[in-house]
């Protein structure tokens, strides 16, 4: 099931919340939450539940064994992690290796997210940060809690463990969670889905400005899609009492590439830092090893997004900029006016997205060349102008909401308008919620035009 569906918002979520809050003790609440989560997971493709349960059992037993075993500890550690990597590999990367076509239509939802959660659990036990979880209900809930299973945030076990056993449930949390959920829904339905139309509308455009808008609309689509999803996930989790850290922090406001990835998909960045980069030695090694470590992390970040050479290229491309910043650019950038650092970062990130969204390296270069005037048929054509004028309002608001100005305005409005600000904000949120619902209903609305001809 997905968050931005009518069945989730008007069926699954309210019923789950009511059941959850009516259940007396926290332990029983956890059991209810586990059942709900399994149902959520099995919704679209019940067969994939088998793999999820298998993964839960394996990692549950592995965790206990790692902490007990003294003789063959290394072997146990390696096999338990390799199992996870192999599953991930079979589903996501087998296509890259074998010469024949593989049916990948049954990839379990959130596979790379829950596998990373499981590895985080094993990692925290190996480094003895935490005790293994003996309670299968709590462990299962860590892996498959429906608030985060489909696309993160990838919460480390050390962070979630205390909340599994004890978490405060109060009105304020419920309310802020709901507001965050609505915010995320607006980002997804009003912004991401509309930017997707801009992106589609320009996919075969052959002008310079068309290529720029094509790339920019993708950058905004991806940001609103994933940060919107993350807001919904964190909001839903809050309604059930869990506090997860933010996953996006206005990344397009960054001044360096390194900063960009401290603000973009923060939980994935942290995961790679904690479970790859630091175990490899991090930055406390000589320069050669440091370069190796950075490139490994960025290679893995790239390939994590999908089994395609373009993702690997994207990862390494950014890794190289991180290295260049570390060794040469940092001092220079610090001296320059701030807006130049912003432009530098946006430009590098945008070029990166071209590799990210293109089906092949070749077509990525075609788009990039077009952006800089090579191979474009014109500077601007009527198709570009049509899309641009159609979606100008969306683009302006999209850029506005990608900055932190809105949050500041919100505070100013509370101070200035006092209680009126509260009423206005409430009305705006409710109206936008209704607009989201109408857009969701509208997208399923189909008049069979052809039958009327």
């Amino acid at each position: 099931m997905i968050f931005n569906s009518l069945i989730f918002i008007f069926f699954f979520l309210p019923i789950s919340l009511i059941l959850y809050y009516l259940t007396p003790s926290l332990y029983l609440k956890n059991i209810v939450l586990l059942i709900i989560s399994l149902l959520f997971y099995a919704w679209n493709d019940p067969a994939t539940l088998i793999l999820l349960i298998l993964s839960i059992l394996w990692n549950y037993l592995s965790g206990i064994q790692i902490s007990k075993e003294t003789k063959h500890r290394k072997l146990v550690i390696i096999t338990s992690i390799v199992f996870n990597v192999v599953i991930l590999f079979i589903y996501k990367y087998i296509d890259m290796i074998v010469p024949f076509e593989v049916d990948t239509s049954h990839v379990p939802m959130g596979l790379s997210f829950f596998t990373f959660s499981a590895i985080s659990y094993l990692g925290d036990i190996i480094t003895e940060k935490v005790e293994p979880q003996k309670d299968i209900v709590l462990f299962s809930l860590y892996i498959c809690f429906f608030g985060k299973i489909s696309s993160g945030p990838i919460v480390t076990y050390a962070k979630m463990q205390p909340q599994l056993e004890l978490r405060a449930l109060n009105r304020t949390k419920f309310y802020t969670g709901m507001v965050l959920f609505i915010k995320g829904l607006v980002k997804k339905i009003i912004f991401a889905d509309q930017f997707a139309l801009v992106f589609q509308g320009l996919s075969s455009n052959n002008s310079v400005l068309g290529a720029w808008l094509y790339t920019i609309s993708y950058a905004l689509q991806l940001y609103f899609d994933f940060s919107g999803y993350s807001d919904m996930a964190i909001g839903v989790s809050k309604m059930f009492g869990f506090d997860f850290d933010i996953n996006f922090d206005h990344p397009y406001m960054s001044k360096t590439i390194q900063e960009f990835f401290r603000r973009w998909h923060i939980s994935l960045g942290n995961w790679f830092k904690n479970y790859v980069y630091i175990p490899l030695g991090g930055s406390r090694v000589n320069n050669v090893l440091y370069v190796r470590n950075i490139l490994i992390v960025w290679f893995l970040t790239g390939i994590w997004h999908g089994a395609d050479i373009t993702y690997i290229f994207w990862g390494l491309y950014l890794g190289i900029f991180v290295l260049m910043e570390k060794f040469f650019l940092k001092k220079g950038l610090a001296k320059l006016p701030r807006f130049i650092s912003h432009i530098y970062t946006l430009l590098i990130v945008l070029i990166g997205w071209v590799f990210f969204f293109s089906p092949s390296i070749q077509s990525a270069f075609d788009t990039l060349l077009k952006m800089f005037g090579f191979g474009a048929a014109s500077f601007a054509d009527s198709d570009f102008l049509f899309v641009f004028t159609s979606y100008l309002v969306l683009i302006i608001f999209g850029i506005f909401f990608a900055t932190p100005i809105y949050d500041k305005l919100q505070i100013v409005s509370y101070n200035l308008l006092k209680n009126k600000g509260i009423i206005i904000t409430s009305i705006v949120y409710v109206v936008f919620f209704v607009i989201c619902i109408s857009l969701m209903v509208g997208s399923t609305y189909q008049s069979f035009l052809y039958s009327a001809f």
């Binding site: 099931m1 569906s5 009518l6 069945i7 918002i9 008007f10 069926f11 979520l13 309210p14 019923i15 919340l17 009511i18 919704w43 679209n44 493709d45 019940p46 009105r171 304020t172 419920f174 309310y175 709901m178 507001v179 009527s382 198709d383 102008l385 049509f386 004028t389 159609s390 979606y391 309002v393 969306l394 919100q410 505070i411 509370y414 101070n415 006092k418 209680n419 600000g421 509260i422 904000t425 409430s426 949120y429 409710v430 919620f433 209704v434 607009i435 619902i437 109408s438 857009l439 209903v441 509208g442 399923t444 609305y445 189909q446 008049s447 069979f448 035009l449 039958s451 009327a452 001809f453």
Partner: protein
């Protein structure tokens, strides 16, 4: 204080929205399911029957998803909010429909080359074989004739080029009836419905004048007809598709002054009627069905006039409003819609002693049609 105000706002928002969720949940459960959607012209998903196989294959949950969205409370009204939001923010196109100034215009289709060549070949062979008066009336669409009503910078497929290509591929035994210049002269008049993809009776009348001279039916003027306005609130398929607000149409019918009695037989469902206008169609969700009651495979009209001409009309729905003009000139009119026609065309041809063959299509349908060749060959 800041903190507190945002918390108070969150209280209001969360309460209202959670309340909405629960109310909608209850209403969705309580109100009885609807089987069909008038507005969308299709059957809606009702509560799926449970079976273990469906559950395992995921079919049950897919049906349940569709059920929730199909039976969603206020579904038909919510669709208008999307339209208003799009319109307000300057969006000029929803799916394949341009949002013009007070009018909706469907974008031009692209050509299905292979199938169109097959169709044209079949039409040529059919006309060469039968050696009767044959003509092809290809109607341009609104985006072509009224392109100045399209939003700025619209760039839809070049329909003039498509039409030139089609006309050039027709055999000399088929008269080409090109009504572009005629319609172009009147392009500021009410030629196409604002909320629908069809042409109005007025546009059909202008096209008929052209057809009448090609087919030697004589000269006609507007005053030869009594014009009745049968609807003033027609909301067509384009309006339903985008959920537009405030765009609606009049439907006019043109009844010839000196018309003999006639009988209309719909061979596909065996109904008989003594009018080509269908009041059930007018009352239905798609009022354009007032003409012939919509599309069916085979309709036969016999008039009590003393004409010796018999017409075979092979057509799409654009021809439905043309029949009212053809009526006085033919002893019989046999109307075939290849999309719903599964009989033997030769038998029909011989049985009715056909003297004239007319193909009438709008260009958007013709370039995408996949049924003509199969019926004619």
């Amino acid at each position: 204080m800041k903190q507190k105000r945002s918390e108070i706002a969150a209280h209001y928002i969360a309460r209202i929205v959670f309340g909405l969720m629960c109310v909608v949940l209850v209403i969705n459960i309580l109100i009885p399911d609807q089987k069909n959607s008038q507005a969308e012209n299709r059957s809606l998903q009702t509560f799926p029957d449970f079976s273990f196989d469906d559950l395992l294959s995921g079919q049950f949950s897919r049906d349940l998803n569709n059920y929730i969205s199909d039976q969603f409370v206020g579904r038909d009204s919510l669709i208008h909010i999307r339209y208003l939001l799009n319109k307000m923010t300057g969006v000029k196109k929803i799916d394949d429909v341009y949002l013009g100034d007070g009018t909706l215009i469907q974008e031009n289709s692209t050509v299905n080359e292979e199938q169109m060549n097959r169709n044209l070949n079949a039409i040529n062979n059919f006309c060469i074989n039968h050696q009767v008066r044959s003509g092809f009336l290809l109607v341009p669409n609104a985006a072509n004739i009224q392109s100045n009503s399209l939003p700025a910078y619209s760039n839809t497929a070049d329909q003039d080029a498509q039409m030139d290509q089609i006309f050039s591929m027709l055999d000399t035994s088929v008269m080409t009836i090109d009504v572009r210049d005629t319609l172009d002269k009147h392009k500021d008049e009410y030629l196409y419905y604002h909320s629908d993809h069809h042409w109005t009776s007025l546009a059909t009348f202008y096209a008929f004048q052209e057809l009448a001279s090609s087919f030697e039916l004589g000269k006609v003027k507007k005053s030869d007809y009594t014009i009745y306005r049968v609807s003033d609130n027609f909301k067509g398929t384009l309006a339903k598709k985008v959920g537009s607000v405030g765009i609606q149409d009049d439907i006019e019918i043109y009844v010839s002054e000196n018309l003999d009695d006639y009988v209309v037989m719909d061979e596909s469902n065996g109904t008989r009627s003594c009018s080509i206008y269908n009041s059930e169609g007018l009352e239905s969700s798609n009022a354009y069905d007032v003409f012939l009651g919509g599309n069916t495979g085979l309709v036969q009209i016999e008039s009590l006039n003393d004409s010796d001409r018999h017409l075979l009309l092979i057509k799409d729905s654009y021809a439905n409003s043309m029949v009212q003009f053809l009526l006085p000139y033919y002893r019989t009119i046999t109307i075939v819609d290849p999309r719903y026609f599964y009989e033997d065309i030769e038998r029909i041809f011989n049985l009715n002693l056909i003297t004239d063959v007319l193909f009438l299509y709008n260009t958007n349908t013709f370039v995408q049609d996949t049924s003509i060749a199969d019926v004619l060959e």
